[in-house]
């Protein structure tokens, strides 16, 4: 029974007792350092979100709901929808981030989100948006939108006048891009929905 020695059993704890505490932290005072890749609470870039709803569709727990929210580019659809995430259900798999076609959704390093009620951890786009248009930018964009709308109307009038001439849809870069994006964002959900 006593052939082998038991010295190491005693020396190891003693050696450890002299060391600094490495792993354990006093939690609220000291948070652990999170890597840049950390999948924490989402960060929404509201300036580029196109409200396509891909994130809501790919979510395995259906915790993302698209809700109306007023920020976003007035160049696009005014009734645009943004993701609202129920963190009571979210499992931080990151599929929504991967599938986002414009890469507007990211997962940040913030991980604490305690609340008093269940509704407290349903975070709307207002909470998620880390980047959004400033009031000035909104005003500028609105002016731009008006200008485009006016141009559109003018162009329409012109095309109506000129008949069904196809050259009428002249290439106006800003308008074209906006229209394209809108088309794309509308087309994609349909595809996904069918799938």
């Amino acid at each position: 029974m006593l052939k082998r020695k038991m010295i190491k059993n005693f020396t190891w704890p003693l050696k450890t007792a002299t060391r600094e505490i490495e792993v354990t932290r006093l939690y609220p005072e000291f948070m652990m350092e999170l890597p840049p890749a950390e999948r924490g609470i989402h960060e929404l870039d509201a300036t580029i979100c196109i409200g396509c709803g891909t994130c809501a569709r790919v979510c395995p727990n259906s915790c993302i709901e698209m809700v109306n929210f007023k920020f976003g580019s007035p160049l696009k659809n005014k009734k645009m929808q943004f993701p609202q995430i129920d963190y009571g259900r979210c499992m931080f798999c990151g599929l929504c981030v991967d599938e986002c076609p414009v890469e507007c959704l990211k997962m940040g390093q913030k991980v604490t989100m305690a609340g008093w009620t269940r509704e407290d951890i349903v975070k709307g786009p207002d909470f998620l948006a880390t980047k959004r248009f400033s009031p000035k930018e909104v005003a500028d964009l609105e002016a731009e939108a008006k200008r485009i709308a006016a141009e559109k109307a003018a162009a329409k009038k012109a095309t109506a006048k000129e008949g069904a001439a196809k050259e009428g849809a002249a290439k106006k870069p800003a308008k074209e891009a906006a229209a394209k994006k809108e088309n794309g964002s509308e087309a994609k959900p349909k595809e996904g929905g069918a799938a």
Partner: protein, 570 residues
Amino acid sequence: MTTASEVLSSIQSAFPGAVLDSKVESDRRLWATIDSKKILDVCKHLTAKLDFDHYSGSAGVDWIARNEMEVVEIMASHGGHQVVAMLKVKTPRDSPSVPSLVPLYWNANWYEREIWEMLGINFEGHPELYPLLLSDPLVGSWPWRKDFKGYPDYTTGERAVAITTPEGYTEYYFPPTPAEVEAGTVPKERPKYPTFLEREEREIKSDSEMIMHLGPQHAMVPGPFLLDVLVEGERVKKAFLDIGYIHKGIEKIMENRSWLQGITYTDRMCYVASLTNNECYCGAVEKILGLEVPERAQYIRVILEELSRIQSHLIGTGEFLTLIAGVGFAPWQYMIMDRERIISLIESVTGARLTHTFVRFGGVRNDLPEGFAEECKKHLPYMKSRIEEFIDLFAQDPIYHARMENIGSISPETGKRLGCSGPVLRATGVAYDMRKEDPYLVYPELDFKVVTGTRGDSADRIDVRLREMLESIHIIEQCLEKIPSGPIKTEAKIPKKIPAGEAYYRVEDPRGEMGMYVISDGGDKPYRVKVRGPFYATFQTLTPLLEGVYIADAVAIAGSMDGCPSESDR
């Protein structure tokens, strides 16, 4: 080396007409449809002549469109050759019944019970067709059939009988319909799992015996499973094992989620081995798609899977130490501290600590971050020295040896017969490792040994795990040197709808052989995913090992299996 086509021709020549349909996918995979009358003979022939001594499991598939059901028997060899034979047995859907393989393979018991309770396929000659994962009243609603409407089945509301228990709870049960009884899908007298009182009445022979729970709620269990032991004093005379307490129906859920969403569910089967589970599922889907994974992605996968193996072994061994030493035992906490470093390494790549959802079809989610190799080079030598210290510690501790040596010993033959795998089997001396047997990713290019033990007892299982960690560190070091630059995802576009096909993909989980059998019918969701978990197989071997040991040894044996009921129940 035996190849799949040789196996096929051997079966065909021995049993002309038995093989109804066959496909040789590669040298290592054989798909064959066998006449259900001949399946027993074919299996006998495979075992006796062709060295198929490993019954790896079976899967049931409900082909509702073809109005038939299928049982797929997965046969492999313990190192004799690398062929996996997938033998399909078809049976009509109205009265599904196939011969049971329990007389040939002891470990077919649970697999067949599961198929019976989930799909209603009767197994002729099965000794104890009790429900395994489901509760008694659910039996008969056959939840894995494609036409299952949920429980209680409101579409056939008249069938659900509500009973109010004396405690005031409402319970439902489904009496079999006359048609079902006639068809024979439901045994007329449905065998019920014995209740505790019935079992006490049946088993207790003298006043000095009692049946004691070591689960589902006990400090010993790593998750809920029922382990009743019949004890006389301190001596265990008989053990009864029942699982299904955390049956989540993951296989069924995955049939209702898109291919991509399925990855998140594989995480949750066993959260300490989520990367290998990811790999297994994605590998199977990649096989159906015929995708080539870029080399860099393969290396990243290997690095992370080996890191994940280290952390899994650390917590498995650490938890086990608490079982035989108490929670105050300091080296347990050292293992957890060391595991923290590994987890942080994994987290810096995947962004999550346990449920990684990292592997993607044809690649991985993230590239290695800047400075990952340096971090690894900092932590891995430290880990190595720590693990060597653990090996030292156990080697020189007399109490550890008194508690662990020759406790729960398995001989190599028994280990093969019982169907266990992973460190439990390797501790007996059988070098059976999927990384060598069924090479995947870049493992063939890496140099590593398969760690084996000699006695197959609890001490050996721990020893094998500890030395395996050293091998894993060795593998990671090689990978960090060899890893090429390049894309981490395949160029090919992954379609939303995976083309019809089927694949069986095996990986080496920290707990042993993990296999996934994935069938696609060309839809955007898997038609069927069968998970052949390593612990499910190892779990079965627990009861025979517990007979005749002390209660404290029962804890030591069950703990040294490094259990994960979450994965065995799915």
